[in-house]
Amino acid sequence: MENIIKQLKKAAKETKLSTVEKAAMKTQLLHYVKTHPVRSDAWGIPTTSNGTGPVNASAFSARAVLSPFSINNFRNKKTLSAFVIGGLLLGSTVSFAAENTVPGDILYPIKIHVNESVLSAIAVTPQAKADWSVTQTERRLQEVEKLASTPSATPEVRAAAEANFNASADQVQQHISNFEKNNDSSDAMATAGRLTDMLRKHEGDFSKKGFAKEETEHNSVSVTPTSAVPVATPEVSATPVSTVQQTQSDEGHRTGVTDGGSVLKSIHTVRGKAEQVQADLRNKYQGESTSTVSNVDSGVAHTNQGISPEVVPGHSLDRHDRGQEEIRTTTGAAQNRVKND
């Protein structure tokens, strides 16, 4: 088989234009070239008969010089794929770098408008959307926390971050109420639960980080949310006055950490609201007639029997997390505590 090929190739080598023939053809071609000059409108630039040098030369040489953006570079599959990969990598690097930014950073807008747009676009179902808004709230909260621990952050930036956080939390509430409107109790409660869990966790972590010594004081920073918690909190109601005062004075002393304190307070406020919502939902969907919500007067709270155990799961308070036993509120326990106090 190769024999044939070799034969052909040999024959091919011998076949070519004779010098004479070649020259003759060249002459003819050049004649053609002369009679069909380059069209002056080819480059959109008028030629003059004397050919003013610089302008025209540069115009042509501008085309002759390959710019990295010329279309010819895209005709090659290799360079095209190199461009595509480069673009993808660049985009992902920037997105990745944007993940850790806070309001005030250069890349922060990318985090919000690019990264989060993509992530929210992925969330298709209403449940996914609600979950995403909880996650978003967490992200805003992380930004707030991060800013609290950077001394160089300006108050405006911090305020902006907090505002974002509150707005995000409101968004979550919006989702929850949408679920309620559609009588979707499970999603509403799931979302509310997620939110409160997240908030609690952050509150716990944040307090631990910045305020290791001041645990007991911060136990009682909660002023308003006492009523939001269905669990009997006789300890809290018993101690608020003195400890609040204490807390305030303490916070005054630690100037460097005042922002941390206010952050904690705002987390706490939002958490309180979230827990309120959660309790409301529980009431609504557990169908219990008795209200377990407001219990400034602790004794009243848990005299209702048949409270489903779901009322209090995980309502072991973070206040009590730090070294104190978890409180499981059953009717019996509540009574006990009342007695103990």
Binding site: L8, T15, K16, H36, T47, R63
Partner: protein
């Protein structure tokens, strides 16, 4: 001046590729004069293109494409010519008479005569691959076929040549 630059490029292309293009034409058309005409026509077309200020990435592939198109046009014209005329012309072999002709010619002529007997498409692929040295990918681009089709054609062309040659040798 612009024109000069384009002219220079054109002349450079001619010097570089005229032999290859001519050779390609010879092995496709088997009439030296006709091959010259087509080769010249290729460069005329090249100038037409370049004088419009269009850029060319791959001069070689571009030239082969023009040539191929011209040759295909030539084939189409030829089909109108009667077969008798084709037989009488030197170098045109059809049917079994070609076998005798193949014997009498020298090796060079024999190879070309054998090529004649191939169907156009086979010949096209074979010449491009083994005489012009184009890659299968380039050939596929030129002829707007898939690489697979080209490979198959080359293979079948070689087989057919083999059979023809063996057939001729037996006589």
């Amino acid at each position: 001046m612009k024109t000069n630059a384009v002219e220079q490029e054109f002349i450079k292309a001619y010097d570089q590729f005229s032999d290859a293009i001519f050779r390609h034409c010879v092995f496709r058309v088997s009439d030296r004069e006709k091959a010259k005409d087509i080769a010249q026509g290729t460069f005329v077309r090249l100038w037409d293109y370049m004088s419009q200020g269009k850029e060319i990435d791959n001069m070689r592939a571009f030239l082969y494409r023009i040539t191929n198109n011209l040759i295909i046009d030539e084939y189409r014209k030829k089909k109108d010519i009667s077969l008798d005329r084709m037989r009488d012309d030197e170098g045109f072999d059809i049917g079994t008479e070609s076998m005798r002709d193949i014997e009498t010619k020298d090796e060079h002529g024999r190879a070309r005569a054998l090529l004649e007997c191939l169907p156009d498409k086979y010949r096209e692929a074979l010449v491009m691959r083994h005489i012009d040295g184009l890659s299968v990918k380039d050939i596929a681009h030129l002829t707007h076929e898939s690489e697979n089709v080209i490979s198959v054609r080359i293979h079948r062309a070689i087989e057919k040549l083999q059979r023809l040659r063996d057939g001729a040798n037996l006589k």
